[in-house]
Amino acid sequence: MAYVAIADRDHEEEHHDPQTFITKYVWSQDHKVIAIQYGATAIFVGVIALVLSAMMRLQLGFPDTFSFITPENYYQFVTMHGMIMVIYLLTALFLGGFGNYLIPLMVGSRDMVFPYMNMLSFWVYLLSVIILLASFFVPGGATGAGWTLYPPQAIMPGTPGTDWGIILMLASLGVFIVAFTMGGLNYVTTVLQARCRGMTLMRMPLSIWGIFMATILGLLAFPALLVSAIMMLLDKTILTSFFMPAISSMGADPGYTGGSPILFQHLFWFFGHPEVYIVALPAFGIVSDLLSTHARKNIFGYRMMVWAIIAIGGLSFIVWAHHMYVSGMNPYFGFFFATTTLIIAVPTAIKVYNWVLTLWEGNIHLRVPMLFAIGFIFTFIHGGLTGLFLGNVTIDLPLSDTYFVVAHFHMVMGVSPILVVFGAIYHWWPKITGRMYNETLGKWHFWMTFLGTYAIYLPMHYLGFQGVPRRYFAMGDTDFLPASAQDLNAAITMSALFVAATQILFFANVIWSLTRGPKADPNPWDATSLEWQTPDTPPKHGNWGHDLPEVHRWAYDYSVPGYADDFIPQNVPADVAPAGRDHGVEH
């Protein structure tokens, strides 16, 4: 049989329509249903992690007040909060959620190329979440080793949760990585193989570029975490000594010899630093599309943006030891890793300039997604700039392991990506559900989240300058700290509780929209990219009806001169209108 290009194989798909409720909504192989399953699960665990952070803040703001927070509990909350937020919320939501939903729709494909594996990916992810949450209920409770799980402490009796908690944590990570790999191979293959006719790589929306690159990073980085989890599991269960030197633990000799705790840190951060960009690159991509659409203007410097995503992705693999300047590794590494780390600031800064320049001479509609996108630029500038302190090896000496670090990474990979997550949910909500959200509730949600989080994290940097260490259950009498440091901590806690509480507005909006939201227009934002051009809203199984779309231009033909509408969808033929950047740049 002659080879038929995937873009031309449209008729085959129609025989695979799901027939029953179970195959349609539970064991579904439809990327859109899987995306919603991924997204809902991730947001569910995210809420748990949010509650954990509120408990931590209660203790830090008002120490010795709440008898349900012991030092053991506190370290368990810290650990689970961090791990859930980074892996089980952000990674799963950006790639499993948005990646799943957007890739086939934005590249003009009927589904992922391996739908069955895509379905397995979600169910295995759910299993990893169940294993993780189960660790709260085993003897000794969840692990309190900190999300970095540094040995020897993570598996030695001085830390909470070394009976079963750490074993379940490592097992859950292993299962998660299996799930991610099945999903990730799908995303990469779909982008490379299943784009519709005319969708060249350099015509893809930046959302897809960000998700695509992040997935590649994940496929290369997660194996490092997997091997370190397996090795630590062996150290814990059958007393191998991969990461364990000879030690004397609480007066006893546990019987280890010859291993290296620093080896674990290298493996962990070889995964851990790219992980930052696994979260950040999809956010970069998505925010570019939100800005462009709602400013009715092409993204500024598209090609530069694509190359910056690729450059950042590549560089992210040679900066990992900037997390380890004061770890006791060979100090001469500091020269190399400080240099690479500060170099990565250049492509990152270019992205920021281009976002801001996209607003310049635009026609800015301050709808809810746009508010979140602009809020993101502000918080990301802040978080990015404080990274220049910590990445510069010398400044890491006073600031490492202090609240400056906590404030920095929450600004850059907590608040910033979450603002994009919300912006993206509001942006694509009409397409996903076919209904509009409540604009007023959405705006309140933005303002309280944006201002509230800044009130948490701006002052927190100054606790770090002062020398307040992270991961302290209580400061007690520390002679170099003024009493006002505790007052500041109390104020930060109040802001944190406020922000946590206002997330109810988001859920209220979801319920409002699903019950009484007005029916959405198929393309309410007059956007150019393909997902807004589907024949049905929400798109049906197979996405495109009988014929696959054909792409004739890039995704950013907004306000093209000489054309009446201020947008030209990607699938509008070139002879109907001026054809964007491929031909029309030198106007």
Partner: protein
Amino acid sequence: MPLAVVLVLLVVGSIVFHLLSPWTFTDLASNWGMVDFTVDITLYVTGFVFVAVNLFMAYSVIKFRHKKGARSTYEPENKKLETWLTALTAVGVAAMLTPGLFVWAKFVEVPEEAHVVEAIGQQWHWTFRYPGDDGKFGEVDAERISGDNPFGMDPDDPNGQDDVLVYGAEAHIPVDKPVKFLLRSKDVLHNFTVAQFRVKMDLVPGMQTFLWLTPTKTGRFEVLCEEHCGMAHYTMRGAVVVDELDDYTAWLDEWPTYAELNATPAGDAVAGAAQYAVCASCHGQQGEGVAALNAPKIAGQDAWYLKRQLLNYQNGSRGTHEDDVYGRQMVPMSMTLANEGAIDNVVAHIQTFPDTKPASTIEGDVANGERLYAVCAYCHGKNGEGIQAMNAPRTASMTDWYIERQLQNFKDGIRGSHLKDYYGFQMRFMANTLHDEQAIKDLVAYINTL
């Protein structure tokens, strides 16, 4: 419009907060002013970018907000502008990186004239070792660590014989002399940080790490562990005391060398009997404790703990708080023991007493007590047996009213507030996890069941 105004206000507010914040770097007490200088340069460069980009964004949001009939300008790229911005950013990055690498080069090269102090971390204490007159440390080995040899010294290594072993959380160093801290951990990762010195480094079991500095101010500076090391990480405190040279030498001379420690004879229980006569009048003939005289049971208590408390009474780190009524009575009693040998003897004598469980006098919610005891068990043992390596005494089968009173004393700062009572200082943190009198009673009721 509100968005643009808020963006401007946030920029202005951030600057005002920065300028007015009372929370800033502690006063520098070392040679590492260059670190602060690098921080300053970075603050200026990043501060400029923060203000410029955000104000530009706010201006754009105002000027180009949607108006009826407005249209964007179609401008996919501007090569010249992009090149300029890239080049300027690169210059800014270089301006920050260059001093950073320059200072780091100084940090990794320790001056040859630096003297060496070893800081040893364990869950959750600091101890220190000085190399002695020969300037060389003896070999140590984690597998040799025991109650009698907490440093894990090699008894056959001639270099180790004159090593000065400081079993306490305070190290002294002379002012204006460069010092290299060699860092070693017995168990898990720790981190040696003195905020006023600006430098820090992890302690890694199985290897030695280091940092160096020249202290420029005399005084007592707190050492914090800043690498998560388990449940009581936040209580792992110590101090570096920067002295004038003479004071430093005098302090160091007070500590024994390894050879001197080994030459100390064990306590003589028979000789201790005579000295115990004084103790017996309150603590009872068999050390069983007499509640009416507020004297706890001491029979069956760990010898190293009894010795430490007697020394604490003698050196003023216990029994000097004005509200410590019964502790103050112990001070003159402890003074009847003329020297360390006498203490060893009387402690040896106490070890010969029969150990019988005293009657319980405190009732409480045992189940709640068991929950609360989970934290205590890390150091005092699951069965309250006491763990010498954790510097935590036995709690099981001791007088319950005494434990209750001491927990209250720790909570109130009556005990453990003296700077030299390192382990009492930690107990204050732990006692603070018991929020009221009932919690203490519940806990003690549970300990009675052990």
